[in-house]
Symmetry: C2
Subunit: 298 residues, 2 copies
């Protein structure tokens, strides 16, 4: 795997991450609700992160030669859903984390009750954002909302969370491990790519291929996560290496060995690029995102 | 205020409560997700209750001479959102209730983490249900989803919850009290009436009048709740009388005296009926629902 020049993606990411961050903040600031609720919502959407979901969505629109701005409400929506899931995940009843990306978690700052409500508000507001987008046609909005609710609800992310919780401290089969990852993280990554395709009005053929692309990069994302937990640099990762092992978590390396996991990563990366080239679009940015997912060091 | 014959409403309620309950259960059973998550979701949607929101929605459709079945997905959606709000409300970090309608609360049976996720799943799934309704046109679905997200999110129910939480143990002004109730309970009652009107394609005039009707019955609902807390029958209520007083909660009687609260109830009831009669529909069922809200003993 040859490392390509990621310069174009870097510029695109920087510019569009800022756009999505300011749009999320502006949208929340305009909400008519108690100030403390908005503060708690903004605290977590401004907590940084890779913004991989909104970038994937906007890059897909760009790949079809359209203006990425058409996807801003959907990009904010998927990032708000990702953010709400982190707030609820960090709660004492769930993972009980005090820190997230080096900052105190939402409930540590605003209390548990407010953190639950800020999560509920972000989740609900994401659907409001898409539904009231003045630029999208009603039938596209419905497709986006149907896909977003399926990807993030009991058939998607929340289902994956439950499976993950049930699988803790037990050795999973590869099939169970993939179910968890495809649902817990894969579904929202997949939403992001397909949402971009829906917004530009891509063909059914292209949507099918992009779904496959998203499937493969979703698995790459998780396999690389597992590899970094063993081989990564603690300072870059911002968390201790080997934490999966010490928590007896089933991972790709634990089920397949580190070599097996790397082979699987290469397999899904190759497949992602192959199906991407069958889509009638300019694949440059999406290729670079796939590369970034596979080669990232944190 | 003369007590009318509620027989027609009784039959309608019984029949349509059963319909909504079985549709909610069937819809959840069909979800592809871990069985335990579905069990936790079904446990709470089957916990009974007055089903006032779905009945209001379906009765509004009936009032316009259309088949209430056209509103079943929206009726299930609003009841699922009401249900999720109760699950999250009951959590230890919020009201910390062990019992709801005489049964152990969701987190007492399934644990806190699952209760948080079951609530998240019900909230998300309610949007999925409307978005995938095969009988509604896309523009109506978008109007319903926009209204449901606004009514239940930070500008609606969740905003009301936060205001309620912040107002605990302090004496509120009448304005603050009304803000809390209009948002915490009023918005979803209002959604129910307007959703029915959207589904039948009612005129803007009728929607405006129905919004006023919903505003007045929403306040009646809460004022009667406060009166029952002082004058109700413990056995019928299923909770101790006087609990608002012992928790130092601001209520209509505490701010206006019991006589003042009853006058305010009569005022909003009269207004509700007046605006209802300005709507081009058969008001019988909606009149009876208003009467039920005002005269109920639990």
């Amino acid at each position: 795997m040859k490392v390509k020049n990621l310069q174009k993606l870097d510029t695109f990411r920087e510019q569009h991450s800022k756009l999505v961050e300011s749009e999320m903040t502006n949208a929340i600031q305009k909400i008519k609700s108690p100030a403390m609720l908005k503060e708690a919502m903004i605290y977590s959407v401004q907590a940084g992160g890779k913004r991989i979901r909104p970038i994937l969505l906007l890059a897909t629109i760009e790949a079809f030669g359209k203006d990425p701005k058409a996807g801003v409400s959907s990009a904010c929506a998927v990032e708000m859903i990702h953010t709400y899931s982190l707030i609820h995940d960090d709660l004492p009843a769930m993972d009980d984390d005090d820190l997230r990306r080096g900052r105190p978690t939402n409930h540590k700052v605003y209390g548990e009750a407010m953190a639950i409500l800020a999560g509920d508000a972000l989740l609900t507001y994401s659907f409001q954002l898409i539904s009231q987008d003045p630029k999208l046609e009603a039938d596209k909005k419905i497709k986006l909302i149907q896909l977003l609710s399926t990807s993030s609800g009991p058939e998607g992310m929340v289902g994956g969370q439950v499976a993950d919780m049930k699988g803790e401290n037990s050795t999973l089969s590869l099939e169970e491990l993939e179910y968890i990852h495809l649902h817990k993280t894969g579904e929202l990554l997949s939403f992001s790519v397909i949402a971009g395709a829906i917004i530009v009005g891509a063909s059914q053929h292209d949507i099918r291929k992009l779904k496959d692309f998203a499937y493969h990069i979703g698995l790459c994302f998780q396999i690389q996560d597992d590899i970094l937990d063993l081989e990564g640099n603690e300072q870059l990762l911002g968390k201790p290496v080997g934490s999966d092992v010490s928590r007896h978590k089933s991972t790709y390396p634990s089920l397949l060995t580190i070599e097996g996991a790397k082979k699987k990563l290469a397999y899904h990366y190759d497949n992602a690029l192959t199906v991407l080239h069958e889509v009638d679009c300019n694949p440059a940015l999406l290729e670079q995102i796939a590369e970034l997912i596979v080669k990232r060091d944190h």
